[in-house]
Symmetry: C2
Subunit: 365 residues, 2 copies
DNA sequence: TTGAAAGCGATACCAC
DNA sequence: GTGGTATCGCTTTCAA
């Protein structure tokens, strides 16, 4: 007995021929123009289609279309009209909860505005990013929201300059034609540090990475500046470890071991991963929060929320990044935005407190 | 002074007219056919384009194309050829790390196979899912990978039956024309339970939700069956709490309080959220792992990995779901798959152990 | 209200 | 190797 193939299985007559606007027109006894009108008509507030078509004709067309299983071919429509009513969102790592949350909010607001958002991930590869930009532009998307890859920011501006409205998020690249929705990382570092100062700590240190990306150097700057302003200039100490190597984990342990001797009171851990190294080090050395040290961490982790009050952590306004970037892009697409509105800077929030039965609160410092 | 608009800013001559294959042909002094050949040629292994075109001509065309900034219009290509070389992945919640990780792996393998994967999120809304399916099909994607919405699984088969190859992941809906890559949840529940039995525990309980989704009921069944097989039928106890309400958190605390009196030794916590309730209850009651209870949790959390050895947890093979679902879809698109190959069942893995300086290990029970 | 016909930008087919 | 041209399915004038 022969194998049954998928095709035979689903297509008894082997060719489920596509239903076009023409078929509908023929079957309904009207012109293709009419069908096109009807299929594009939106519902008016009175529940009637707002198009210059006889309601009876329209109803007949709608009926036939449904019976035949007509489905618009977007490729054709978009080829002809130049519009696709869709935008592309290219992030650098779709598996990162940070981007996932941005995407979720972006999707929602885009959908409400009548746009379809399609997502893609460059996996931090400039080559892939270039490929994706090409593909998306090839789909006639009307705008791009892009989180540039790590490291190659400068080389990217050429790739991105494809002549369609583009909004940058998370990381910056040069180019005055881009919209931007970026987070104020200096402020984030400042807020974390000021909180610890306000708690009465003086010997506050920071652990960061050697790689000099602006998001981190900005947070470092915020830390240093705050320490200075608090008259703690001599206590400024930024440890810079390798980026995501096994050495990083071990270095953190050593840093903590020495910190005990130095009398360090608190740490600013400016990324989630650095915070994880911190927690690991605590466990290895048998230390406890807040007895031995105090932390201000960044981003989100189940660990921060494990006990109440929660471990103070600085979170980026993910929902806002999503919605603001779409709104800006939409304005750019519709050409109603002035130059000074194209750079949006968002503030992070410090999440504190929360007791048994109570929710965490947000605070400013 | 007037506002400077985005358009004036980026388009000095106000219309950056699109470069078509025609423009390239004219500029290079060849026919459009030639340009089409060249633009579609792939690199042969010898670094030469494998197309019936004179290498010199090809080079000239390539050069002109680049100089003019030519970019293929996918809409046109796909309209004519009926192919788009892209597939759509519609998940139910893009912000869920579970899907994010699947998407990442899927993207990678699709890219290697020469397909572009575009992602969308239905946000657990059947209406949105329907809209997305329409949009994606309208883009002429060659296949669909879909994670159905929660609850409305049955109603969905009509929407999904759009006549193009479709692979279901995570949740099932009826329809023999679909490919499926699902995880064996009975096995997952069994594995978790057998591990605890093997550790010498007898009084093993489970906390689950009242809502009867198959992923959970299957895990419950695996638990019950294993308990029976271990001669622990009388110790079977499944607590069913509300789904993600504040009551759920409090109920878990009460369950634990009673469990102490009952002499319960271990818990199977079959979702991440249930595990979080568990950890919260431990904190509230001042209990410790593994002194007071032992846990087997599900999915991934930073908390599981906080201390070494890690808290045993059952993880779904996310990477495999991603790659297998794409591979199956590809086979369906190319019509080389038999019916019995269209249902793929994957096993979860139990992650155990891991000591200072050592990685977690995977085990089978 | 309705319809005929001209493309959108590529690929496919066939002839040279 | 190369080029001419019909065509994919739709939107968009323009005329009736």
């Amino acid at each position: 007995m022969d194998k049954i193939t998928y095709n035979e299985l689903t297509n008894p007559q082997s060719t489920m021929k596509k239903v076009t606007i023409r078929d509908v027109a023929r079957e309904a006894g009207v012109s293709v123009t009419l069908v096109s009108f009807v299929m594009n008509a939106k519902m008016g507030k009175d529940g009637r289609l707002d198009c210059p078509v006889n309601p009876n004709t329209a109803a007949r067309v709608l009926d036939v279309a449904k019976r035949l299983g007509y489905r618009r071919n977007n490729a054709a429509a978009s080829l002809r009209s130049g519009k696709s009513h869709s935008i592309a969102v290219i992030v650098s790592d779709i598996a990162n909860p940070f981007f996932a949350e941005i995407c979720r909010n972006l999707e929602n607001i885009a959908y409400e505005a009548g746009y379809t958002a399609i997502f893609a991930s460059s996996e931090e590869s400039p080559r892939k990013l270039e490929h994706l930009v090409e593909t998306m532009v090839g789909f006639n998307v009307e705008g791009l929201i892009v989180a540039p890859c790590l490291g190659s920011e400068n080389a990217l501006s050429r790739v991105l300059n494809v002549g369609i409205p583009t909004v940058l998020i998370d990381r910056d690249v040069p180019g005055h034609e881009f919209g931007r929705v970026l987070v104020d990382n200096v402020d984030a570092g400042t807020m974390a540090t000021k909180y610890l100062v306000h708690q009465g700590f003086g010997k506050i240190e920071m652990i960061s990475y050697k790689l000099g990306v602006t998001s981190l150097t900005d947070r470092e700057y915020g830390y240093s500046k705050s320490m200075e302003e608090a008259g703690l200039k001599d206590d400024i100490r930024i440890h810079r470890i390798d980026y995501e190597t096994e050495a990083a984990r071990k270095d953190t342990i050593e840093i903590f071991r020495d910190a005990l001797k130095r009398g360090t009171e608190a740490f600013v851990l400016p990324t989630k991963k650095l915070a994880m190294y911190g927690f690991n080090a605590l466990n290895v050395l048998g230390l406890n929060l807040p007895k031995d040290f105090s932390f201000v961490c960044f981003d989100e982790s189940d660990i921060y929320d494990l006990k109440k009050p929660v471990i103070p952590h600085v979170v980026q306004p993910l929902a806002e990044i999503g919605t603001k970037s779409f709104t800006l892009l939409q304005q750019m697409i519709e050409e109603k935005v002035s130059e000074d509105e194209m750079n949006i800077s968002l503030k992070s929030k410090l999440v504190l407190g929360g007791h048994f039965g109570g929710d965490p609160i947000e605070a400013s410092f």
